[in-house]
Symmetry: C2
Subunit: 139 residues, 2 copies
DNA sequence: GTTCTTGCAAAATATTTGCAAGACG
DNA sequence: CGTCTTGCAAATATTTTGCAAGAAC
């Protein structure tokens, strides 16, 4: 069966592998870049937007995807190493101002900052804007 | 006159110092932290929201403020060294998950990242979430 | 049968724009 | 007069929720 990989994947994360979730996950696996809710919706014309939204929320909660908040919308990308308990897959993201694609810079360590005294760090979002390699090649 | 400082400030930036803009700027000067459109509106009950919005946009365009895009809204803070041409006042921001205040970490250098080949950097947004010193003191 | 999921509709939130009246020079 | 600004209203965009029907176990 074509979906077996996704099914196992979800079961391992303690997520019930419903048809909708499998479709969303399958699509995410096919993506090289982070995608928005709208993009998922366009890719799955028969799926309801709020169902997709809830699938993504569930995925995020169980460490399947992480979300990247951009200027006008949120994008989602598969995590490589996260679980529901620990989000270890932390990295900067790159947003191309030309083609609007968002890329996980998974191989780059999130630079650590010396916070002022008595500040406690919980999360870091490093979003870098610029022109990606493909758009640079065209220009 | 109370507003003289703000008036000069705007003229130096080539922004026409209208009454509304002076009010918004005056309020920004009084703030220690970044503020949202709603916060400005609350502080200036007689001002129209879209007017404030447009003032902030103008300020941003001319290097008076910079905007910080957070999860659910945008905040604005005065720039210290920027002009319309060059935004030099770049730094990470800290968002407190308890009191929701947003603080410019002006004294901290934005860590530079080695982008993959053929990527061109244009802008960086580093938003750090955690607990601020005040909330830490309470807890 | 109890719980979880889904689809539809609609609410909620934030941002942004159109337009006409008015201010300013 | 011509340009810029303002206030009001409304559009837009996105995220989020309520609820009833249906599926799953």
């Amino acid at each position: 069966m074509a979906l077996q990989k996704e099914e196992l994947f979800l079961k391992n994360k303690n997520i019930k592998p419903t048809a909708m979730r499998l479709l969303v996950l399958q699509y995410l696996f096919s993506c090289e870049e982070a995608v928005s809710l709208n993009q998922v919706e366009e890719a799955l014309p028969n799926a309801d937007k709020s169902t997709i939204f809830r699938s993504l929320k569930t995925f995020e909660e169980f460490g399947v995807v992480h979300s990247i908040r951009e200027a006008t919308l949120t994008k989602y990308a598969l995590c490589k190493t996260c679980t529901a308990e620990v989000h270890t897959d932390k990295h900067p993201h790159f947003h191309c101002n030309k083609c609007d694609s968002t890329i996980c810079l998974s191989h780059i360590l999130l630079p650590q900052i010396q916070l002022p005294e008595h500040f406690k760090l919980q999360e870091q979002e490093y979003l870098i804007h610029g022109i990606c390699d493909k758009c640079n090649a065209i220009a």
